[in-house]
Amino acid sequence: MTITGQPVHRRLGMTDEEYESVVGILGRDPLPAELAMYSVMWSEHCSYKSSRAHLRRFPTQAPWVVVGPGENAGVVDLGDGWLAALRIESHNHPSFVEPYQGAATGVGGILRDVFTMGARPIALWDQIRFGPLDDPKNRYLFGGVVAGIAGYGNAVGVPTVGGEIEFDPTYAGNPLVNVMCLGILRQEQLVLGTAGEPGNVAVLLGKATGRDGIGGASVLASASFDDGSQEKRPSVQVGDPFEEKKLIEACLEIFEAGLVAGIQDLGAAGLACAISEPAGRAGVGMDVDLDSVHVRELGMTAPELLMSESQERMMAFVTPANVESVLAIADKWEIDSAVVGTVKAGGTLTVRHGGETVAELPAASLADDAPLYDRPYSRPDWLDDLWEIPEPSSIEPVDALLQLLDDPAIGSSAWVHEQYDHMLFLNTLSGPGGDGSLLRIRGTTKGLAVSTDGNGRLCLLDPRRGAARLVYESALNVAMTGARPMAVVDNLNFGNPEKPEVMWQFRESVEGISEACEALGIPVVGGNVSFYNETDGADIHPTPVVGLLGLADPIPTHLPGLSRANAGLEIWEVGPEATGNLAGSAFQRVVEGAHRGRPTAPQPEAAKEVIELAAALAHQVLVLHDISTGGLAVTVAEICIASGVGAELWVQPDASLFSEDPHRFVVMLEPGTVTLPGGVARRIGTVGGDSLEIGGHKVGLDLLTNTYREAIPHRMRG
């Protein structure tokens, strides 16, 4: 059976070798529905065939890990019977095709991964990257993605409390949209993605199934954009946050009543994944009847029903005795439901449609027998040229600072985060605009701190050091709120893995994240890989994104904040002295329009000492702010702007002002209130006045403030 000359399996993105192993497994040619299931389940996006081998490198163990990688979300123990579930996902390609719906459905998907575990989602973080805003196309994508995250997140009722924005030509043809979600649950509410015992009934909950995004994540997210991509494009999925909200409430009520043996969200690979993965995990089989699936469109074929990525659907596995109650709760919340299958012993997955058997295969084979590639990798030879130390450029501190504050990635993010409900649930103690976010768990002394960080340019210049530094930066960010790092999720956004250079960048990044996590003694509990971020042969900068969860217990009674500076405070810099290395810094990008040199290596011992010190100081001082994008100059300027007061810095107006060397932060405190350890801490200035003075160079607070506030708005006005 061939369409337009091409064998069907190739049109479904499957290689001839992969097709042969399917034949090997079945001992015959696959039926269309079977081929459809294997093609989506064995796609890069769902099978991780290029990355699985490398992901094993991650440290995943710790006494507080309840669920590590492998389930829909990672789960850690917070003590006193509380658990946290966290996960991060990308929706890069769909957001390029349709920014609003792509981002919206990305939010919907990551929420389902978290409440599938039995957790109530309490917050979202968005990590978004675009080409420069002087191009209207990029403004359109940026505006659409932000509106989509707002439109879905606000309506579904989960606050978006933080994130990160980057602009770089490397993302112009391939924006990145990663979203992280955090949920909390009581121990006894944990649910896994298992079909459980034979006899259990499979209940499909939520939205009716249509032809949405057939092969979407699976094919679209597993191939790169080129002239051929038009025909790869599935019909765009439209998110319905209202349906998701009802689905969340219904599922949480079902979990509370202890009515399910397991549950699985329908995401990439839709039904095919939601029946095979839970069966595979439980070592059982299943009889599934596609005729009982509630549909939005008539005449859908078996392959379409199995591959559809219609949103807002969940598959619950229920003991026969509980089916009635589950359907009743679905009715109460006004969501549709249908009994679509029965779990049976013996590992065979049998799918019927129109009375006929359209698929009969070993359920576990869809996941376990997926191809595993050890793709060739090699260090790009252009790296040596990039590593040549650039001749130090003369520094005009005031001009440089103003240019940096006017950069849309550094200037105020209010244009973005004021479109997000970041206050719902009354838990947001530290929201957008600060360092780490801090959310209280009411009725306890505990606070959950999260920071998400990425840096494509740093990782281009040295993926291992760059990725490691992301972990250290996130850890320092959560320490700013008094939290100690606990667990990491990661989203690995890379180019075409069939290119050895890209594969090398990938390996190095995994290595860097692993080394940093080991040094800090924290596990990786989940994540996502997004390959083929490539347009017309050009790969994006390697852009691993890290989401780090920290626990503050107790929460600082007076949380330090950027806006709490006032005249007379002492300004201290804590951490290793900056070397003046500008490799991969915002200064290079904004002021010099380049990226060159080799980024400073992280220092695990210093990192640990500084993180510990910061977490302790969060209970004692008025202002804490880590030194990252833009270096010391931008860090202090941000505090001055937020607090509406000037400052005087006694430092040399040289490269070290803008260096982003790791493990450093700024403290502001009342004279004589706290004594800082001499070794790592240096007094560098005093708060006061209405201007910022750096080694004799002066700039007025008003100018700084307006420049900072207008960075995004004036560009979006076109």
Partner: protein
Amino acid sequence: MRTAVVVFPGTNCEHDVVHALRSLGGEAELVWHRETDLGDFDGVIIPGGFAHGDYLRTGAIARFSPVMSEVERMAAKGAPVLGICNGFQVLCEAGMLPGALIANRDLAFICRFVEVEVTDVSTILTRSAEIGQRIRIPLNSYEGNWVDPGSGARMVLRYVDNPNGSQGSAAAISNAAGNVVGVMPHPERASDELLGSADGLVLLESFLHSLVPA
């Protein structure tokens, strides 16, 4: 004395409102939108969110929920009825408050602290406040832009710096009797210094003081 906090499918601020009321010693219970008897409640709050997904028009579908006839009955007998954000929109759609809410002037969702000024202290939202009192309180809406061709409303709170184009800078309005009030910003989100402001407490206290035994 008990307050019913109405929950439609799509409502999302219900727990926040209950938490804030209880922190003031008030008694509050969640009530599902299919409830047909509010007999043992003395007041009603319709909290924020996206009732019925805000499809068609915000509040348009919610207004037909069974519970709404009970809300109208209580309003008619003078009990305090407060709509916050989406609840404000529902009360307008139900014809219990004049006017309607349309998209913000700049067509963007607005979530931030705004300053409002008390312009009427004889309503269930403001009886414990003072004329001219300034209140710092979070706004969180896309359709927060109140319009009223008839302009037959009592102005209760006014934005100091109109963020969304609302007619007369209205942030909260009331019916003639002062017992049915719609407020666009969220008092419950300004109920704790830890969250950036406790200015909203005076509004919730006003509501609680307005409760009289049924």
